[in-house]
């Protein structure tokens, strides 16, 4: 079973890979809309990738209003 810290790190690593950013350029508290300049649709694409990685289904409503990686990781963690 992953710890929350591990989940957060995996979320950050995947986001870095998905958006082709330099390693270590994202932090848990980062607002992904602001930091990545992405819109809600691009966020949904990132979520699909996270779902595949963690092998879970994350309903759209679960991520409603979430805008930072740490909260997102918490939502994922609760479904692992």
């Amino acid at each position: 079973m992953r710890t929350l810290e591990q989940t957060v790190q995996e979320v950050l690593d995947l986001a870095v890979k998905h958006f082709q950013l330099p390693p270590g350029s994202l932090a848990p508290e980062d607002d992904f809309f602001k930091k990545l300049g992405i819109d809600s649709l691009q966020t949904l694409e990132m979520l699909s990738r996270l779902e595949n990685h963690f092998g879970i289904e994350l309903p759209d409503y679960e991520v409603q209003g979430v805008s930072d990686f740490k909260t997102l990781a918490k939502r994922i963690q609760s479904r692992l």
Partner: protein, 569 residues
């Protein structure tokens, strides 16, 4: 299509539609690759009437208000029909609002019934604002077994035995209260009459018809005026089917087109642009030879569709593109915000017409729409049948405020006669948008007169509604503006909000203050956030009752140079 001139209400129309088209398919609901529902009109009726009966057994009667806060799904439409059948007024709310905002609007609308989904109820039930509203009956869909529902009931078990009594309404009665904005300050609850919907439905379907076999992909939230009309009432009056997706991830939306042979879909400009980007990337990745052939086919398509759309020819010429959309797509309806002409042209050149138009909730959805005769990417089309559109006080270029009159215009704002009187003057709805007519009767929009923005996601944001988030900011005074309201620009895209601050004497714009502003800004949903700060070194002009005189302040700020006045966050 049913002859809507014979009907008095949405409920009466739907009641006949369910019998008239009993054997036709009316609803599909899919969750990722799983199909959860496939209902005929007969089955829809069988699901809805016991809900109507249970509502009546619970004391719900003519004119009572019931709110729906749900994502797009079959139970949304089933519940809505049950409410109309029982003579109720529907209050559809945006499920993306916060729980506090939901309770605020539930209170404002005086809704006594709330129908919602379990994940939403989980948040609503713990909100401190809950006690302020007068909701007596709460129905929750899809609650897991053993979940504590507090005082709510399971929607699935809310069934009345026996036949419910149909409650007739007249055309002038309120059918829905639709909030166009106002979650932070002054709620704008548009009172839409049955006549508004009946007339709008006739006008829209005269240009974009539905019939049995047509499948409409419902992506825009159904509380939105567009989806309520073209994703519920319109198709149901014609025996067409609606497809709901519980997951709006792009890959599942893409799959839905061929899987359900979609005929129409409505999108906001943001999604349309994203679709364009994806397609363009695929075209660019074609090997040189294939790309050349493709470009030639697009050029031929452009030539043959110059005067009007020719779907049959386009589907043959650009077969692969059309097959990716299921091969049956006739038109993409785009609304909620302004769409850039080049995006519209991109799709039209591929033989996929985009019905762009212009509308306001207050006007009963659409005011103008492109009739594709011929296609025009540079305008928002011509007024719909029955809609009068005037340009008030035009300047030398013919640009003035757009005012409209017609049977689809709302009755007024709920509990706000003052705002109603400001908005509807001598029967004309003042839109606050600026535009002009060209020589062919097409409306061209060129900016806004009002202090608000519309995002590409189709969200109307009024600065007053988000100011509460900045309450208590350690500055002398502050105010939020649409930047284009201060510095008028002839555009309807790329609109942004700015925070205007008057600091205390000697107070610097410190890093701490910036951090505070950023933290508060992040509490807002991303599309509601401010994009810059403007410093003003003098007191804000105020009325005798100390309200900020926003128009005077905007004039004052307008004298500053925009590029240097707006500081980054």
């Amino acid at each position: 299509m049913l002859d809507l001139s014979k009907y008095q209400s949405i409920g009466a129309t739907l009641k006949d539609a369910l019998d008239h088209f009993a054997g036709e398919l009316c609803l599909f609901e899919a969750d990722r690759e799983r199909e959860k529902e496939r209902l005929t009109y007969r089955e829809f009726k069988e699901r809805a009437l016991p809900v109507a009966k249970a509502l009546q057994d619970a004391g719900f009667s003519a004119g009572d208000r019931a709110s729906i806060i749900m994502t797009n799904q079959s139970k949304w439409l089933i519940s809505a029909y049950a409410i109309f059948f029982a003579g109720g007024v529907l209050v559809p709310l945006d499920y993306k609002l916060t729980p506090d905002e939901h309770w605020q609007l539930l209170k404002h609308s005086s809704a006594t019934v709330l129908i919602t989904e379990y994940p939403i109820w989980r948040q609503l039930s713990v909100s401190v604002r809950r006690s302020a509203a007068n909701v007596q009956t709460v129905l929750v869909t899809e609650a897991p077994p053993n979940s504590g529902l507090s005082s709510a009931q399971r929607w699935e078990e809310f069934r009345g035995a026996g036949e419910p009594a149909f409650v007739a309404r007249t055309r002038k009665d309120t059918a829905c209260i639709v909030y166009s904005s106002g979650t932070g300050g002054r709620p704008k609850g548009c009172m839409m009459t049955h006549e508004n919907y009946l007339e709008q439905c006739v006008a829209l379907t005269s240009i974009y018809p539905f019939w049995p076999g047509v499948r409409y992909l419902s992506i825009l939230p159904t509380n939105h005026a567009i989806d309520f009309m073209v994703g519920f009432f319109g198709p149901f009056t014609c025996g067409a089917a609606v497809v709901h997706l519980r997951t709006l991830r792009p890959e599942y939306v893409r799959e839905a087109f061929p899987k359900y042979k979609i005929t129409y879909v409505s999108l906001v400009p943001l999604v349309l642009k994203n679709l364009q980007k994806g397609l363009q990337a695929r075209f660019d990745a074609l090997p040189t030879g294939k790309r050349r052939i493709f470009n030639t086919l697009v050029a031929i398509n452009k030539a043959v569709t110059k005067n009007h759309a020719r779907l049959g020819i386009s589907r043959v010429l650009l077969k692969q593109v059309h097959e990716a959309f299921g091969g049956e797509l006739r038109t993409i309806i785009v609304g909620g915000a302004f769409t850039e002409p080049q995006t519209l042209q991109f799709f039209y050149d591929l033989g996929i017409p985009v019905a762009n138009g212009y509308g306001l909730t207050e006007a009963g959805t659409a005011i103008t729409v492109n009739d594709l005769k011929p296609f025009r990417a540079d305008t928002v089309g011509k007024p719909l049948p029955g809609m009068e559109v005037r340009i008030l006080n035009p300047d030398g270029d013919g640009i003035g405020e757009v005012a409209i009159r017609g049977k689809t215009v709302m009755a007024g704002y709920l509990n706000d006669p003052e705002l109603t009187a400001e908005t509807i003057v001598d029967g004309w709805l003042m839109t606050g948008d600026l535009g002009k007519f060209d020589g062919h009767g097409h409306l061209q929009l060129s900016g806004r007169k009002k202090n608000m923005i519309v995002t590409e996601e189709g969200k109307n944001i009024y600065p007053e509604d988000i100011e509460s988030v900045f309450e208590g900011l350690p500055v002398k005074e502050f105010c939020i503006f649409a930047a284009n309201y201060i510095w008028p620009k002839q555009t309807m895209t790329g609109e942004e909000l700015v925070l205007v601050i008057h600091l205390e004497t000697g107070q610097p714009l410190s890093d701490d203050l910036r951090r505070e502003i950023n933290t508060r800004n992040q509490r807002l949903l991303n599309y509601k956030r401010i994009h810059g700060i403007v410093l003003l070194e003098e007191d804000f002009p105020r009325t005798a009752s100390l309200k900020i005189r926003r128009n005077v302040l905007a004039e004052q700020l307008g004298k500053l140079d925009r590029s240097s006045a707006v500081l980054p966050l």
